[in-house]
Symmetry: C2
Subunit: 164 residues, 2 copies
């Protein structure tokens, strides 16, 4: 009979654990629960990114009002190539653990809620940490001056420079 | 002895419920868990908003790169006055249920993940629905042309026009 109590207890725990698990999985797969605000979008071009990166356009530029906004998901280890924006860029860290580096400066860690202002024409890159993904909103104003100038990939030595 | 099993079951459920409750409350109060990306900030001025509105600046404008970004929380029923931006504005709906209206058009409902491009010089207002709060990121580019021109408050008749 004591066993009976233990069984009930175990069953209750298992049911609750299974429920939490299913919920978290649904959230990850559909992005329709409170866990994700924007959909993951499509794969970013491998010509300008290293690793697996997803981009969901939120605002498309048009001739009257040039301010493309996109939601970007970097899988662990993934990052952009070095690049610059003639009109600058703003990044909002939405979740995970990100890296951001401007040429000649150390890598800066980005956590949920951080905001970065990348000045016009300053070469920089951004991406996920080696073990945790990173989600950001990227705002690229003043695109009449040019949207982005792509440069060389971020080498593994550059990417791993934080951990030395 | 059967009671013993029931007690264990009830205790397990109570412990789990209490834990969930505490977690949710911590999230609400500190904004440090997965529930909130940005802090709520400070009360917005009552001269340009109706009801209770909170603003957290994320990016401050400077002379080199004029693109203020802010996180705004509208409590239920709260809304901005009518206003326009000489450089336009982008809104990203982060949660809750929002209203957005451009002069001469019907109210548009905003849900988590929606993005709105408000063209330069178009009078508009935004806020929460009457019963559910609304959280948004507001991006105001091209502020060299002027950041915002405030107009009259949104009347209750205008605010309630959706439900007619």
């Amino acid at each position: 009979m004591k066993n009976h109590g233990g069984n009930l207890f175990t069953t209750a725990l298992l049911v609750i654990l299974a429920f939490s698990q299913t919920n978290a999985q649904t959230r990850r797969e559909t992005g329709k629960d409170t866990g994700a605000i924007f959909p993951k979008g499509q794969r970013a071009p491998t010509t300008t990114f290293t690793g697996t990166v997803w981009v969901q356009p939120l605002i498309e530029a048009d001739s009257a009002f040039n301010i493309p906004v996109g939601y970007v998901t970097f899988e662990p280890g993934a990052r952009s190539h070095w690049h610059s924006h003639a009109g600058g860029q703003v990044l909002l860290a939405m979740g995970g653990l990100g890296y951001y580096q401007e040429r000649g400066k150390p890598i800066q860690i980005l956590r949920k809620g951080d905001a970065v202002k990348c000045p016009p024409n300053v070469p920089h890159w951004h991406g996920a940490s080696p073990t945790v993904e990173f989600m950001q909103v990227a705002i690229t104003p003043n695109t009449v001056k040019g949207r982005v100038t792509w440069m060389q990939p971020v080498t593994d030595i550059e990417y791993n420079s934080l951990r030395k």
